[in-house]
């Protein structure tokens, strides 16, 4: 798990990150970090650049400029080491619906080079934690939306990453499943010393204790604990701070 160096190296360090699609600048000098063990919310309205940022962090393509490092491993030059320590829950559902929960997890384990026995043991462990132990042999198609999300989370944790990325993981879930997922991820961070970057446009998902990075029009507008961000914005609460920070037009 975490070695000595990890207590000082950020789980995720993004610096000077800019990206353009043609003439459109989607990210402009984005810099922030996620500390080991910290639950961090990437808060931004739709179109802020969150999805592009996630595409760059997960190496779908390279950024026009700037750097991304996971526990000090640069995404360009040491992508394999960086990706091995990272677990991802994508915004779109990514499970094979006709395969069983177990088969989906086995596929992911293979993509991380895990041996069959170890993979089965870890899958059983993660599913038990997620309260899905009795669903292992069922096809994903038979699960509810909330359960599918929890399977995706179990999958993302299967190779024991130290950094968990979640791109709007509650989209499409009902209020109850949303709250349950959020509570579960926060608990996993606390229990396992796991760092998480949770992207959302929903302010209530950024309730303390959490660190917050506010992204708007491709730029980081504030970063810190919820209290820090509220204070920086001179606002009454986070909702007010978010409204103030995302109101301004691009300078």
């Amino acid at each position: 798990m975490l070695d000595a160096a990890d207590t000082t190296t950020p789980a995720l360090a993004v610096s000077g990150l800019s990206h353009s699609f043609g003439a459109r600048r989607v990210l402009d000098g984005v810099a922030f970090s996620v500390q080991p063990g910290a639950f961090t919310v990437l808060l931004g309205p739709n179109g802020a650049g969150k999805t592009t940022l996630f595409a760059l962090i997960t190496r779908l393509h390279h950024a026009s400029s700037g750097s991304i490092a996971v526990f000090g491993r640069d995404m360009r030059t040491e992508s394999s080491a960086a990706l091995a320590r990272m677990g991802v829950v994508f915004q779109q559902p990514t499970l094979d619906l006709d395969l069983t929960v177990e088969q989906n997890l086995a596929y992911h384990a293979a993509l991380h080079g895990m041996a069959g026995g170890e993979a089965r043991a870890r899958a059983a462990e993660e599913l038990a934690r997620a309260g899905l132990a009795d669903r292992a042999g069922e096809r994903v198609r038979q699960l509810s939306g909330g359960q599918r999300r929890r399977v995706e989370l179990a999958r993302a944790l299967l190779h024991r990453p130290a950094l968990l990325l979640l791109d709007e993981p509650t989209s499409g879930l009902d209020i109850e499943s949303r709250a349950a997922l959020l509570t579960y991820v926060r608990a996993q961070c606390a229990e396992r010393g796991l760092a998480a970057l949770w992207a959302t446009h929903l302010i209530d998902e950024a309730a303390p204790p959490a660190r917050v990075v506010v992204l708007h029009q491709g730029r980081v507008r504030a970063e810190g604990t919820v209290e820090d961000v509220v204070r920086q914005a001179g606002a009454a609460d986070l909702a007010d701070a978010f409204a103030r920070l995302t109101r301004g037009e691009r300078a």
Partner: protein, 268 residues
């Protein structure tokens, strides 16, 4: 990552593809029925129209069904290769392509694993077809069934890699239907799959040249000769060369630094 882990990765990707193939009953059945329709109906109708003289690798006059069987095996490979890439387009829209891409293995290796998974499914389909084709008295020598395996793998790699290249170029699922029309049908018809090339040459010299330049012709001939226990160096070289070129292009198409993916993301 150790060699053992690379092996586990390939096996995992192949296993998933196999499971998906079995569960998608429609794909499973249509993959088998398609060549059988050609064999049972098209070939039966044409055997009286088109005489096939004695040409290698056949030692006697052969009925038309026997002539087109290797072409239909190649067609299975062609459809399968395109269908695997269709699933890449579909996968990517569903996001599971990204699941593959965040694996710590090198991207070219992940693409190769995906390719091998498609080839494995295609080879099983080809053998199932050959087993059913026995009913039409398509009976190559027993050794031919073994000799055809490397030919099936090589042609499957080439056609699968071509599909990968196309999938990296196609932006949306809708466009893929166009690719099918502009790739699958021309490749299949402008080849030696349905008619011997000497007859094409008699009819139209330009078309004959197009058939000669079509890699699918060489895949068909490679399979045809292998099925009768013979090795033909020219088709083998063409298919292997094209497979390498297509694989290199696919790796470029999916390279995070090269733009195709970035351009696509920008268009979303």
């Amino acid at each position: 990552m150790t060699p053992v882990q690379y092996g586990r990765c390939v096996w995992g990707v192949v296993r998933r593809e196999g499971l998906r193939w079995v569960h998608q009953r429609g794909r499973f059945v249509s993959a088998l029925v398609r060549p059988l329709v050609w064999l049972a109906i098209f070939a039966a109708g044409f055997r009286f129209v088109l005489g096939v003289s004695i040409i290698p690798p056949y030692e006697t006059y052969v009925p038309y069904e026997v002539y087109i069987a290797p072409g239909l095996v190649a067609m299975i490979q062609l459809f399968n290769g395109m269908q695997s890439s269709l699933s890449m387009v579909y996968d990517r829209e569903m996001g599971s392509m990204r699941t593959l891409m965040v694996s710590p293995f090198p991207r070219w290796f992940l693409l190769l694993a995906k390719l091998l998974a498609g080839v494995a499914v295609g080879v099983v389909q080809a053998y199932l077809f050959l087993a059913i084709a026995l009913l039409w008295e398509i009976e190559p020598p027993p050794m031919g069934y073994l000799a055809v395996l490397p030919a099936l793998v090589l042609s499957g790699l080439m056609l699968g890699a071509l599909g990968l290249v196309l999938s990296s170029l196609v932006r949306q699922l809708e466009n893929f239907a166009g690719v099918m029309n502009f790739v699958i049908f021309p490749m299949f018809f402008a080849s030696s799959a349905l008619y011997p090339l000497w007859r094409v040459k008699e009819a139209n010299l330009t078309l004959w040249w197009i058939c000669q330049l079509n890699p699918f012709t060489h895949a068909t001939e490679l399979i045809r000769f292998a099925l009768y226990g013979q090795f033909e160096p020219v088709p083998a070289a063409v298919v292997a060369g094209c497979a390498l070129v297509f694989m290199a292009l696919a790796t470029l198409g999916y390279d995070p630094g090269r733009g195709m993916m970035a351009r696509r993301a920008g268009a979303e």
